[in-house]
């Protein structure tokens, strides 16, 4: 028995080493960085900073503002993506003719690279030659202004781009869940005279709970560290209206050369994501499950 355990251990060890190298070490290094002043420019050398970065983060009103923007962005994007994703998946599940064609068509946006989506958004919403901007101007919107030049419209445009790109992920996850649902409960419900709405509310959605949870948690993690599209389009402006925390991290690390402070902000993102994950687990499955 002892020999068998040893063999298993040695077989797993390479994978553990690789895992440690690519995840655990960077994580520990990031934690270490968060307690240091680590400027990458020549006149300053790295030095231990204690809790200075953490105190600064909690005291900085700008960071609170970035979190507020992040919250608006996350709530806006996630709620729309989840609702639309579930609705479209239910619809696709009902379609019989050309099902594969419509499914492929619907999920295609998520195969675009985020940078490309950012460029596409910038192009389509460009005030001078953007097609979407043109139509908006035609109906009297943003006629004398800029979509990416005004705080609210810029944030809405970015949320829209995210919804366009990532709702398909929710669709594909929920659709897979729908296909895997057993037919017996639905047949029994039909015999008992349940309406379509009843079946959806009392059978489909409760049975899809784990699947919806997976979609929600994946999108939450992703949307929290959203970067490329904002970087390409607004870079956090105008007046920080679209500056979510990940953009602030970039600014601190690669513009201001403050690696220590950037690491602190990064870790705060990790903590918030974990907290959200725990909240979702409790919401979906109740405490203790």
């Amino acid at each position: 028995m002892r020999k068998r355990v040893n063999t298993e251990f040695w077989m797993i060890l390479p994978a553990l080493v690789v895992l440690a190298a690519i995840t655990v070490f960077p994580f520990i290094y990031t934690v270490r960085l968060s307690f240091m002043h680590y400027p990458m420019i020549q006149i300053r050398s790295p030095e231990f900073a204690g809790l200075e970065n953490w105190i600064r983060m909690f005291q900085d009103p700008k960071v609170r503002f970035y979190w507020w923007v992040t919250l608006k962005y996350v709530v806006g994007a996630l709620s729309c993506e989840m609702i639309l994703g579930i609705l479209i998946a239910l619809l696709l599940n009902k379609i019989r003719a050309l099902e594969d064609f419509f499914t492929t068509l619907t999920i295609s946006p998520m195969f675009f690279a985020p940078v490309l989506v950012g460029l596409l958004g910038r192009f389509l919403l460009h005030d001078s030659y953007g097609v979407y901007a043109y139509f908006l101007h035609q109906v009297g919107l943003f006629k004398g202004g800029s979509i990416f030049g005004q705080g609210t419209s810029a944030l809405l445009a970015l949320i829209g781009l995210d919804i366009w790109e990532w709702t398909p992920l929710v669709i594909i996850i929920v659709l897979a869940g729908l296909k895997a649902l057993p037919s017996e409960p639905f047949e029994a419900a039909s015999i008992d005279g349940a309406t379509g709405w009843n079946k959806l509310w009392y059978l489909t959605l409760p049975m899809l709970k784990p699947v919806i949870f997976v979609a929600l948690i994946i999108r939450t993690m992703d949307v929290m560290r959203y970067f490329a599209k904002i970087f390409i389009t607004t870079r956090g402006g105008p007046a920080d209206a679209t500056k979510i925390v990940s953009i602030a991290v970039y600014d601190q690390a690669f513009q201001a050369y403050r690696m220590g402070y950037a690491a602190t902000l990064t870790l705060s993102m990790l903590v918030v994501t974990i907290i959200l994950g725990i909240l979702f687990v409790r919401f979906f499955f109740g405490q203790g499950e």
Binding site: M40, I41, Q42, I43, R44, H126, D127, S128, Y129, G144, G145, S146, I147, F148, G149, Q150, G151, A154, T234, R235, G236, G237, P238, A239, D240, A241, D251, F254, Q255, A256, Y257, R258
Partner: protein, 475 residues
Amino acid sequence: MKRLIVLIMSFLLIGVMVIPAFSMTEEEKWTQFRNKGIVLHFLTEDTPAAGAILKLLPEFEKRTGIKVEVTRTNVSDLVTKLMLELGAGSSEIDIIYNARWQILPAFSDVLVDVRKFQNDPTLPHLPLDDFFKAHLIATSFFVDKERQVAIPHDASTMIWFYRKDIFDKYRDKFMAEKGYDWTPGPNITWDQYYEIAKWINENVPEVKYGAGHMAKQWNSLYCDFSNVFWSFGARGFENPETESYGAIFPGRCMWDSPEAIEAAKFYKKLITEVAHPASIGWDWASLAEAFAKGDEIAMCFEWHDYMMMFGDPSRSKVVGKVAAALMPKGKDGRSHVYYSGAGLSINSYIPEIRQKAAWLFLVWQASIPVQKEIFKMGSTPVRKSTYEDPEVKQWIKEGRYPGAKIAPVMLEAWKEENLEYVEAKIPQFVETLIIQYTHLAYMLQGKETPEEAMKNIVKEVNEATGYTKLIKQKK
């Protein structure tokens, strides 16, 4: 006797070592690294100068046997990549596009002092006095005036582009109404610029607005505001060296001076009242696209390299309709021109032989044939003698290439009395830049008054540069 023999032997040894160096022909200096299998990596911003290099690079490779891999990217990515590479002590990149405001102050210690190659008899040399003095100081030195870490490579400069067809067509009408010639140039004041922009908004149907600006919350906003800031007599920092050779400690930030506040008030009025409303979402690329579209704006302040785009029929609807001029007149009666050139440097982490090979590349890229090619790419070269070349003189006379068309304006702009080194040459520049453009954006969005914006900038910049800490320590 023994001493004499030792002395003679020493002289012989020195002779054996030194004489071949002096006896090397010019061609041997260029071909000495042939068959050594050297491949250099050159990381650069995507500029007309880089385009000229790429076009003629096979000639260099054929002559020297040195292969050069060129990576072109935008300036933000370039700085990030260089920061990571140089910060880690990497020898991955041999030749560095040295953005004078970001890389030079932050990493000058890890760049090779190129004077050692200038003094090396086995290598070809560059006539340094053939570069514009202003460019040389700005791009090649940081604090230490005896240590040259780059040679000038390009010279992005902010100039005033305008639609000549529109300005010609409405000149008399404007003059009749306002009583002065509105032709753009250093005779026009900023108030007149505002008036011209407003007049075009109301009287010229060919374009939607008179003026467009690059007021997006980014580097472009800082650049655009700086045009006004410097013209109004404001200065960035207490230490004047920040505007020439650079400084480790810039002293107090001066953005709350009465001149700075007046400039901020004027800028806000300009952007929010008369400029194209989309200006607050435009960076320099978007602004150039809007100008090139033809029906959006009649004038803008842009980097002179964009002449390439305006003269390209596949990207511009204003080909042949664009003229350029110096910036409007400042409060002191002269034009203040924003200069933001870059040099090329050699990474000190690479071995000596590669450094020498890189030097050959630096000398070659500054040679007259490559410099002349820059005209064709739509920009203007940085070596003075290029402009004395008979063929170039003819190009300028005929306005044959986009770069040649604006050459007279650039030569005027690069005079020392006109140039402003707006980007403070300090190690913390990028950090201060973010602070500045963020508060300027707040000001344009009405979240801060000009006074508040300037006051907040001073407070945060002083913290970033260490000035606040220094003052506290003194107390």
